[in-house]
Symmetry: C2
Subunit: 256 residues, 2 copies
């Protein structure tokens, strides 16, 4: 079997599950049948919550969001996915997907049927490890989100979000300071737990403060330093601000 040097194959080699398709030693193709690439379009759904779990996927291009559904019917986005991300392992828990995965733009994925995965995992220690790594990474990512939701205000959450995206783009060899958001403001608000209006206001605020530039979905980070410090700005306790000195004795007197 000869070495395929096409763009497709070079993408595959960077994949965290590349051990599925290549022999690490001689880079020859091991299991080409796993490479069943499928193309989806904006708003297409890869799997619904509740659907039978029969495969995991790797995002090759484009972007997607995964979300869970509350009893109330409200969607909660828990992750945005970019090329290289492992998707769909939420189904291991009980054999059906707990999440819904929806594409944000035209995208392609590599589907690995469970039977194939099981075979691969049974034979290859590196594939085993990569699978566990991918799941553990997702878990750690969610911990970070949890943390930011609980300990940061809206401005801090939004700036952290932008920085996170920047890092993820950079890791993929793209620009870290100019990028396009593939998600809507509604998605961002949902993910970060705030109202769209707040997202919008904060974006303009960051722009006014010369930290970023925003034009529709296009974001340019102008001042990384400031954006980085943003999440650190702790609000001063209000009782310490000069304009708001509390005078409890007087207040009590008024009440009496």
């Amino acid at each position: 079997m000869s070495i395929n040097t096409s763009l497709q194959t070079s993408l595959c080699k960077k994949c965290c599950m590349s051990g599925l398709c290549f022999n690490q030693a001689d880079e020859s193709i091991l299991m080409p049948k796993v490479r069943s690439h499928k193309v989806f379009h904006k708003s297409d759904i890869l799997f619904h919550a509740g659907q039978t779990f029969d495969a995991i996927y790797i995002l090759r291009s484009g972007s997607a969001k995964s979300s869970v559904l509350a009893n109330s019917g409200h969607e909660q986005i828990n992750r945005f996915h970019y090329p290289g991300n492992l998707i769909g392992f939420d189904g291991f828990d009980n054999g059906t997907h707990a999440q819904t995965l929806k594409f944000l733009e035209t995208s392609s994925v590599c589907r690995i049927a469970l039977v194939e995965l099981e075979k691969a995992v049974a034979t290859s220690a590196s594939i085993r490890l990569n699978l566990l790594k991918g799941m553990s990474h997702a878990l750690n990512d969610e911990d970070k989100l949890l943390m930011s939701l609980n300990n940061m205000n809206s401005a801090q959450r939004l700036s952290s979000f932008l920085l996170d995206l920047s890092v993820r783009f950079e890791k993929r060899g793209l620009s870290s300071n100019v990028f396009d958001l593939s998600m809507t403001r509604v998605d961002i608000a949902n993910y970060l737990g705030m109202a769209i209006e707040t997202v919008s206001r904060l974006l303009t605020q960051l722009q006014n403060e010369q930290v970023i530039k925003v034009n529709k979905r296009r974001v340019s980070i102008v001042d990384f330093e400031k954006l980085n410090q943003y999440p650190l700005h702790e609000r001063e306790p209000y009782f310490l601000t000069t304009t708001n000195v509390r005078q409890p004795n007087i207040m009590q007197a008024n009440v009496a």
Copy 2:
């Protein structure tokens, strides 16, 4: 090898990783050396964030909390652990633990060294599946928490928390309506993303409404129905309440 019918062994048989220690067919002990039980006490730490990842654990008795640390130094609890829970797989991501695990009371764990785990996982399909299931379950659990943080108010979050505990106790064959919290109010507040004062106030409120009874750490669920409905009570939009009809014209007149 004869069948050991001691309490210890019976506990082990219920374990999600029992395949590590028993042959499913004849229930004989396969790898007794994996069963290295260790006892810890309140506030003991099983592993710190940053520590080298060299084993995963199963909680046998007691309880624990896992948390991640923010740059600011603030702890964020992401999970409470009870017997049967798989612990420590956060380390797969990059070889060091991302979380810190602290015991809430005297507890014992079963330690499975990575080398042992790797051997077991290489040979047993059921152990592989159980490991993946455990991780996937943890992920889905965190999704639920994320959801409740973003879409529920404090009262709803607290009642969901109590119901979740109740279910977990019941699954372990314990009382679902009377149980002791092993965590402090501070821990609950941290986990649920609210102030301790709010936790305290809501607990007394729930008690006043005859939904639960609280005495220190002891919680009794009096009315499951009400507690269950609590998270569903949606606040009415304020513009619809009779006492708060907006009269924009008059307001504007006052300002002018």
